[in-house]
């Protein structure tokens, strides 16, 4: 019992790392552009399918394939932002951007169904099936690698945001778009690149999701985006540290509840969100009350 608990806590933390990666992209996009990219879920699935296509047709390893999929997803992100998000202006921008992202999502979903069909597929590779013996536990290798990768990427993102000139402009734009414009920051370029980065991490997230989950199909995006939204809201919208903490927190809870109540573990996920927001409407790490309606 005790070991099982510990085991599930470890698995929860490891998958939390993977979710953190996907959630950071979402919360970055929110912070800079003030929109919720509800296409993020299907973009993760797209990333997973790209990895799948590369490994099946070109026999590229999952991790090698990322060298192709990450830049590809970055370009896709920049294009989406440039074509569909950038032109939105005015008071309806928030709601319209939700709609635009949804439209993009159903286009991608339709395309994925068309290309790959509705059957569930799995990412496979040497590291997917083998386990590592750590501290008396047998942990699937892929979880460890993906967690490691997630930690590295999040660290790189942190470095980018807090140690570079570009990062400073991103944070300035997150704080106050108008003021950022006034001090000469090219806000539209920052927005495009941020959206690109936010989408690029879905390539990694998608690979990890496809390799660690129980298979995926084009419909998986809905479940994924709901969880990611729960994570970033719980962490406080726009807070990167909050997204990290909330991912690990939520996934650990889900993994632990899974021991006793496999059916209800997903409900706990959302119930935790509702509960936290009832007590603290800004989320765990939200800095200020949400702006006026």
């Amino acid at each position: 019992m005790g070991t099982e608990l510990l085991h599930n806590i470890i698995i929860g933390i490891l998958s939390g790392g993977v979710y953190a990666l996907m959630a950071v992209g979402l919360t970055l996009i929110f912070g800079v552009l003030d929109i919720i990219n509800i296409a993020q879920g299907i973009l993760v699935v797209l990333g997973a399918y790209l990895s799948y296509a590369l490994s099946v047709h070109l026999h590229l390893g999952l991790f090698t394939g990322l060298l192709v999929t990450v830049p590809a997803m970055f370009v896709i992100g920049v294009v989406i932002q440039w074509a569909f998000i950038r032109p939105l202006r005015g008071r309806e921008r928030t709601s319209m951007s939700l709609l635009a992202c949804y439209a993009v999502a159903i286009i991608i979903e339709g395309a994925l169904y068309w290309a790959f069909g509705p059957d569930y597929v799995n990412l496979t590779g040497p590291s997917v099936t083998s386990s590592l013996h750590v501290l008396g536990f047998y942990l699937p290798e892929i979880y460890l690698y993906c967690f490691g990768l997630a930690v590295v990427v999040v660290a790189v993102l942190y470095g980018l945001l807090y140690r570079t000139r570009f990062g400073r402009s991103v944070r300035a734009t997150m704080q106050d778009r108008t003021a950022a414009l006034l001090v000469g920051i090219n806000v539209s370029r920052v927005a495009a690149v941020t959206f690109g980065i936010g989408v690029a991490v879905t390539a990694i997230g998608g690979m990890a999701f496809g390799a660690t989950g129980g298979g995926f199909n084009p419909n998986s995006g809905y479940d994924l985006i709901s969880r990611l939204l729960a994570v970033i809201v719980l962490g406080g919208l726009g807070s990167i540290g909050g997204a990290l903490a909330a991912s690990v927190f939520m996934l650990t809870i889900e993994s632990v509840v899974d021991i006793w109540q496999p059916v209800w573990s997903v409900a706990v996920f959302y119930a935790a969100l509702v509960l936290v927001l009832t007590l603290r409407p800004t989320g765990l790490f939200g800095r200020r009350a949400a702006r006026a309606q």
Binding site: F30, I36, F84, P87, L88, R89, G90, R91, E92, T94, S95, M96, L98, L99, A100, Y102, A103, V104, A105, I106, I107, E109, G110, A111, Y113, W114, Y222, S226, L229, A230, I232, V233, L237, V263, W264, V266, A267, Y270, A271, L273, V274, L277, T278, P281, G283, A290, R291, A292, Q293
Partner: protein
């Protein structure tokens, strides 16, 4: 004057066409389509009553839709209601949906904007999961509606009229709300909640009341839909596509206007079904639908009705104030106050601007 006459004339034509629809169309598929369209007119109008007027975008209205369906189904099963008497269960469906809206609102309405959207999605998933896993809803096997002993010839038509009545009720209700003090309070909340509160609007009760009314009407739509379809499953009752579809319909037509969601539903539902049928490829039609949405968003970023209203206002302003040469009038900035209006306050604004 002409505008008002145009509006009432259009309304009369629309209602007459809606009533005559089953007489003109004998095709089975078209009759089903008519029913679906009316259900969505009601659901989109109900959604708009809350989300359109208050600005709180709900992506969890399937909670009310599904709960209305389940309430009717469970009551019919447990109380052995059969035949046309099941329609007597409709008030129950509305009441259950309204009752669910209270805790829903008390939790979700504490947060605003994006966070509100996400909380509604979370609550939606909780409901879907609960319905799949408890005994009273019969889990994932779902429930069957009592069999109606209507002949297949009149079945569709009768249901069409029930749905039409519901749609008319929903639209009338949203028209009444929009013109009332309550509606003004809601729109004040949409424009600036803090300021509205400062001016004496008791924001929480007002928002909650709107959600309860909207939820009740959505629950009714869910129950009627369930009687027509004949069965309900957690996946079909609590359907994420429903959440998005009603929002999309309202957006497409024009958020916060009375006619917008009606127009959106009447365009979108047939378009969706037509595409699926014609292309014989559900995936391609899904892609096309997405493309159409993107085009609408880029070309008519505020929905059809408000954009058309604005154009009309600008055009009238141009006619009424042929004044300063150099074409100042055509570049009139859209008066922000009329955003989301289905009836632009034409002359008043025109005069203001031409001064």
């Amino acid at each position: 004057m002409t505008l008002a006459r145009l509006r009432y004339g259009g309304l009369a034509v629309l209602v007459a066409a809606a009533i005559a629809f089953p007489l003109a169309v004998t095709n089975q598929e078209a009759a089903t389509l008519g029913f679906d369209a009316m259900i969505f007119v009601a659901a989109a109008a109900a959604w708009n009553m809350f989300s359109g007027y208050s600005g709180y975008i709900s992506l969890g209205h399937a909670v009310f839709f599904g709960s209305g369906a389940y309430a009717a189904g469970i009551a019919a099963r447990d109380w052995q209601v059969t035949g046309a008497a099941i329609f007597a269960l409709l008030p129950l469906s509305a009441a259950v949906a309204a009752l669910i809206a209270v805790p829903f609102g008390l939790v979700a309405l504490r947060v605003r904007r994006h966070t509100f959207v996400v909380v509604t999605i979370a609550i939606f998933f909780i409901f879907q999961l609960v319905a799949s896993n408890i005994a009273v809803t019969n889990g994932t096997s779902g429930l069957n509606a009592p069999f109606l002993l209507w002949s297949p010839v009149t079945f569709d038509d009768r249901f069409y009229y029930v749905a039409l009545a519901l749609a008319v009720l929903a639209v009338a209700l949203s028209w009444l709300i929009r013109g009332s003090r309550f509606g003004l309070q809601l729109r004040a909340i949409r424009d600036d909640e803090d300021r509205a509160a400062g001016l004496g609007v008791r924001a929480m009760p007002v928002k909650l009341a709107a959600l309860v009314i909207s939820g009740a009407v959505t629950g009714l739509a869910g129950a009627v839909w369930f009687f027509f379809i004949g069965q309900v499953y957690p996946q079909s009752a609590y359907d994420p596509i429903f959440d998005l579809t009603v929002a999309l319909m309202a957006f497409l037509g024009g958020l916060g206007s009375v006619a917008g969601p009606v127009l959106g539903a009447l365009v979108l539902e047939p378009a969706q079904q037509y595409l699926t049928q014609q292309l014989n490829n559900a995936y391609l039609s899904e892609i096309l639908l997405g493309v159409i949405f993107l085009l609408v968003i880029l070309v008519l970023p505020r929905g059809v009705i408000p954009t058309a209203g604005e154009r009309l206002t600008a055009w009238r302003a141009m006619r009424m104030a042929p004044a300063p040469a150099g074409g100042a009038a055509p570049s009139l900035p859209a008066p922000p106050a009329t955003a989301g209006e289905d009836r632009p306050a034409g002359p008043a604004h025109a005069r203001e601007q031409s001064r």
